[in-house]
Symmetry: C3
Subunit: 148 residues, 3 copies
């Protein structure tokens, strides 16, 4: 790949991740599913409050990722922001990146939890399919999480 | 436009929006006015606390936008951040974008309001004039607003 | 420099600053030192709580910047995010930028301070050495700082 193709891929992956955040927070489920590869892996094992159930946080396949996310956020007001990507294009069809992130979750009245305010990094890989770049794997690590 | 011209325009629009945020928060009014087209439209109708006055939130023309913004923020400490732009160049002189955003407003002691902390998206269009890109239209939608 | 070389340099400086934030918050001290020029200048004079000691906030040379930063943040949980860069490439080996920023610091139990939540701008210059771009000078100005 020449440098222009690399810069183009970097911008396309920034916009891919932007669609991930926007479709998540506006609950555009079709838009969210479209950002993942069919065989994508979402690794949220570090998020488990009950460590004995952490294994459930590794979800494989867009068809399983979607109900996992919908179940987690449908009733909540969510805000997810990404920052400062370090994107590396590793071949014409593969790439990886680290993103800083912040999320705010607000549960509805009466829920066991009220709010979560967290900070961390997404460690991701991407694959270019016929219709453009998609998220292949995504693992979240945390700097800090405040829960009320 | 070739791909290099498009990538250049994308970066120029990112820096245009950066000047919008920085000049707003540092109260650089000349710098802020310069980001708008002369006939720009600012649509903050969704922001109205009193819905019967929402129509006043649609402001047309940079000459009217500037006193609208100055009146809203001159006495406040403001922080506005933009994130995760999805910029599409639609012609050599037109473009559109969605930006995630967060804002924090702090009113002076004794004001009726104390703080606003909000999250949402700017939906914008841009036009390239002789001296570069400017904001043509800007509409703010909200995910969440907390007011004290 | 042609436009492609400029766009490449802009993306490289974005990733340089991303490594600054990520290595700071994950306490990767070797990674953090690598972002600075050997003769870098870090100007945090505006951060001094005790204005009579403000001069100590100007630190010159990566070898002095590193213990300065480590001393400031080793015991803390820190989150630093950068936003909305305005990067200008001023020659093949020099550049400057303004970045919006937000930081959250949390001191350990028992410390005199509990938390700092701040907002402002980094005003920076960069220099391209044999192994790529590095931070030459960095000055932090503030819009707002909340300390508990």
């Amino acid at each position: 790949m020449d440098i222009l193709e690399r810069l183009t891929a970097v911008e396309e992956i920034k916009q891919l991740k932007a669609r991930y955040f926007r479709s998540m927070d506006t609950k555009d489920w079709a838009g969210l599913e479209a950002v993942f590869c069919p065989d994508a892996e979402l690794d949220m094992r570090g998020e488990a409050a009950d460590k004995s159930k952490a294994a459930e946080g590794l979800v494989i396949g867009a068809a399983k990722i979607m109900p996992f996310i919908r179940n987690a956020v449908t009733d909540l007001v969510t805000v997810h922001h990404g920052h400062m990507p370090e994107i590396e294009i590793t071949s014409p069809t593969t790439a990886k990146a680290i993103w800083a992130m912040e999320d705010l979750l607000r549960w509805p009245e009466g829920a066991a939890l009220k709010t979560l305010h967290g900070f961390g990094h997404y460690h991701e890989t991407y694959r270019r399919l016929e219709d453009g770049w998609h998220i292949q794997t995504s693992t979240l690590t945390r700097l800090r999480v405040d829960i009320t």
